[in-house]
Amino acid sequence: MTSHRERLEETAPSTASPATAAPRRSISGIGRVLVVVYGILALGATGRSFVQIAERFDEAPLAYSLSALAAVVYIVATLALVRSGSGWYRIAWATISFELLGVLTIGTLSILEPQLFPEATVWSYFGAGYLFIPLVLPPLGMWWLARHRPTRDLTGTTA
């Protein structure tokens, strides 16, 4: 493992131009951190949903299907944040809005009607099991999207 990493490092363009100079990246600066956090959440949601469906789908088919749907939406949102173009921009708005709606709805329901969700999902208790990241991330994503429109007049009203 270490030797592999060293080899990677040797072949890396260590004297390359600063990455911040690349002008046509659709996402830059702290936005890349946002993408990575989305990616980790997508991985976490996918992993949990995979385990739930593989081990005990029969116990709560509705909750586990919802888990899988949430996982897919996180993956699409991550991709949409990375890709450029107004189509992906709209997809990013749609998926991130869906996430916000999901975490607020399921979060509220899991407190008011806990018997509906016998097992934790990503969105239960407003994402408390995931350090409330599912609750914090959509507003951050929306803030990012609002500040980085592909064209000024076409989009932005889709939220």
Binding site: M1, T2, R5, L8, E9, A12, P13, S14, A16, P18, A19, T20, G29, I30, R32, V33, V36, V37, I40, L43, G44, G47, R48, F50, V51, A54, E55, E119, A120, L131
Partner: protein
């Protein structure tokens, strides 16, 4: 899982995470120090994998879901590789922050793995 090793691993991941996030926000590009700290986290994860494979043969079996445990462990092992690759392609200060975010995420995942190993599923 071996409890003291797990806590050592969580501690190393937290320190590496905080180090990289701090250095990143101070404007440092990925360096031998920051990449090395994540490499250490990765090595400990591989050791954890070996421990997890061997432990059941010594009577130290998981109480919770083994599948869930390995889903976390395999995801955690992939994360530093992905983050290091990112850091080598994109040599900006944000890559250092990303190394740190991954370190902190791994700390949480290892903590969760300890819970899965030692407690019955709800």
């Amino acid at each position: 899982m071996i409890e003291w090793f797990t806590w050592l691993q969580v501690a190393v991941a937290v320190v590496a995470g905080l180090l990289c996030v701090t250095l990143g926000f101070l404007g440092k590009k990925p360096s031998d120090l920051t990449l090395g700290s994540l490499a250490l986290v990765e090595v400990l994860l591989v050791v954890q994998l070996v421990i997890a494979i061997v432990a059941p043969f010594t009577g130290n079996t998981a109480v919770g879901s083994v599948l869930e445990f390995y889903t976390y462990l395999v995801s955690a092992i992939l994360l530093p590789v992905a983050a290091a690759f990112w850091a080598l392609v994109d040599r900006s200060k944000w890559s250092t922050v990303i190394l740190g975010v991954v370190g902190l995420a791994i700390a949480v995942m290892v903590y969760r793995m300890q819970q899965i190993w030692t407690t019955l599923p709800l």
